[in-house]
């Protein structure tokens, strides 16, 4: 069992090392987040001053900007596993993945986690520094770190199964970029990328709360700015249910798809 776990840990570590080789490229790409935050700080300042400067649905201006830092860091740092799987199916690189003694999905999951940790750290660093300079710091409770790390792990698990399931559709479709575009934007809109779900109007809020997307974006971001152990436990519980469901869907697609592998030629 220990040896089985060690192999997936090593996959995560090699992905961290591989990302590290491009540290400065990644730092450079994270400057896009600076631009996004700058624009949104301007917009929210106008909105808040028009509303008299009070909180909007429980969020102060500072909390709203730090919420955005958290959602953008989560979304922008997500590795493109759907694309990696699509390329492996298209180019036949699946042959060098499937000839090793590991689970194909766990191999990709470990890589996703390793690369994701490197990327989210960069985006959080750049985004956090920008937000601090523009609106100041948020009231952060350092004892919440273990809870936030646990939520990050479940959030990453759901996001992985979500993206990998779309990627695995490449066993049937030649190109999954259109499909991914739809599902990704659905996740952004209903997951609360730009606005907390609490701000959504009536029915939209009910829909967003009923769907799983908020567990990948809004849920962990809200916890980051307004942490409580009760909310963390509730979120973890519902995230685990969604992770299990998405995991079963993903494994089902893989089992059906791998029988269809069509890698003829050298």
């Amino acid at each position: 069992m220990k040896k089985r776990l060690l192999k997936y840990r090593e996959v995560a570590l090699i992905n961290i090392r591989s990302r590290w080789a491009y540290f400065w490229d990644q730092m450079l790409s994270s400057w896009f987040l600076v631009v996004v935050l700058f624009v949104f700080v301007r917009l929210w300042k106008v909105t808040y001053s028009a509303g008299g400067g009070g909180a909007i649905d429980g969020y102060s201006l500072t909390e709203m900007i730090w919420y955005l830092v958290a959602t953008e860091a989560l979304v922008m740092s997500a590795p493109r596993v759907h694309w990696a799987i699509e390329q492996e199916v298209k180019d036949g690189d699946l042959a060098i993945r499937l000839n090793k003694p590991y689970s194909y999905l766990l191999f990709h999951f470990s890589g996703y986690l390793g690369e994701g940790i490197m990327r989210v750290a960069t985006f959080a660093l750049v985004g956090g520094a920008t937000a601090y300079l523009l609106v100041g710091g948020v009231d952060f409770n350092w004892t919440s770190i273990p809870g936030l790390l646990a939520v990050y792990l479940t959030t990453t698990t759901i996001s992985f199964f979500y993206s990998a399931s779309i990627g695995l559709v490449a066993f049937w479709l030649e190109d999954i970029s259109g499909l991914y575009f739809i599902f990704d934007k659905l996740k952004w809109i209903l997951g609360g990328l730009l606005l907390p779900i609490e701000v959504y109007p009536g029915v939209a809020r009910q829909v967003a709360e009923a769907l799983p997307f908020r567990h990948m974006i809004a849920g962990p971001a809200r916890l980051f700015v307004k942490f409580s152990w009760t909310d963390a436990a509730a979120l973890l519980q519902s995230q685990l249910i969604w992770a299990l469901l998405f995991g079963l869907i993903c494994a089902g697609i893989y089992r059906l798809g791998v029988r269809r592998v069509d890698l003829n030629g050298g």
Binding site: R9, R17, N99, G266
Partner: protein, 332 residues
């Protein structure tokens, strides 16, 4: 006593392809009613390979070589038939089988391109669940054998194709596989690198007793590495014999490309030797080695001419296959 490690009976693989018709309207209609065609990549293959054998599984492009390897390593599910590799059904027991076999795909890399090969080796040691001390000893052995000391700490993308292939083969041997599947390991390599790779494969087979299953369309790989050859064409085995028999019956010809210091005068009169093409300083000569051995011809050329460059080529695979078909249709 011979022990079969691979047994294949009636193995078949059918691929279904979507056809894209010509013309805008036809293409539009095909979006809703796709037209498909079936292509039989492997047709009822029967094969037994003994432990420690070095088998060349050869054929032209599209013959079904890679498809067969992918079925035998559990990557592809066959349409019909049975296969047993070390007692496992590959496509049903892919993971346990993977611990005991290795594979190298000449056109695909298992090395992490941005990292040095040593990182991939360490990863593979974990993936194959090797004892760390035993792994380090094995790695040292392979580094020594494959002369990798200067390479394993350089990012893989900065290595030449030949250097990378040496690392690929070493990576596939780390877990001491009982069978190694090599899918065109010398493709794209220069003659020096090819010779080095062949030497490494030969040593793995001879010194470590690894069963070698090699696909290639380079006749040199077969002659220098294997004792048995299976030729596949259009998904069917057309010849299963010893390499010596293949050489004797179907690889009798060689082509010699020469670049001379002076224009060729046509004065090379040996039995079975014919000038295929001569232009200025360049000349291409065909040799039937059954009538005059290649060393005699080369000796004669070097004695009679001042040679700037010389290349000796095996007959192309297509020619060998054509000769096999000719041999079958002609009465003995």
């Amino acid at each position: 006593m011979s022990v079969p490690v691979i047994e294949v009976r009636g193995l078949r693989k059918l691929f279904t392809r979507q056809q894209k018709p010509e013309g805008t309207w036809a293409r539009f209609k095909a979006t809703f009613r796709p037209q498909t065609i079936s292509q039989e990549a492997v047709k009822s293959l029967d094969l037994t390979i003994e432990k420690g054998e070095a088998l060349a599984f050869i054929g032209p492009n599209g013959a079904g070589k890679s498809t067969t390897i992918k079925m035998l390593t559990g990557i592809l599910h066959p349409t019909a038939g049975e296969a047993s590799v070390l007692g496992y059904t590959p496509w049903k027991q892919r993971e346990p089988l993977a611990y005991r076999v290795g594979s190298v795909f000449g056109q695909k890399s298992q090395l992490w391109l941005h990292l040095p090969p040593v990182d991939t080796f360490n990863l593979l040691a974990r993936i194959y669940e090797l004892d760390w001390t035993a792994y380090l000893k094995r790695r040292a052995e392979l580094v020594d054998l494959f002369e990798l000391a200067d390479l394993i700490h350089t990012p893989a993308r900065k290595l030449s194709l030949g250097q990378r292939m040496r690392c690929e083969i070493a990576a596939s041997l780390l877990h001491r596989p009982e069978i190694i599947f090599l899918d065109e390991p010398t493709i794209g390599l220069d003659p020096v690198a090819k010779a080095a790779i062949r030497d490494l494969i030969r040593r793995a087979n001879k010194e470590e007793g690894v069963t070698v299953f090699l696909t290639s369309h380079d006749a040199g790989d077969i002659e220098q590495l294997c004792r048995r050859v299976v030729i596949i064409n259009h998904g069917q085995i057309i010849l299963d014999d010893s390499v010596n028999a293949l050489r004797r019956d179907f690889m009798k010809t060689r082509e010699i490309d020469l670049k001379l210091s002076a224009p060729f005068d046509g004065g090379l009169h040996l039995p079975g030797v014919s000038v295929l093409k001569a232009k200025g300083y360049g000349v291409k000569i065909g040799v039937d080695t059954a009538l005059t051995p290649i060393d005699v011809v080369v000796g004669e050329i070097l004695r009679a001419y001042q040679v700037q460059d010389i290349t000796i080529q095996n007959p192309p695979m297509e020619e060998i296959i054509a000769a096999i078909y000719r041999g079958r249709s002609e009465p003995a």
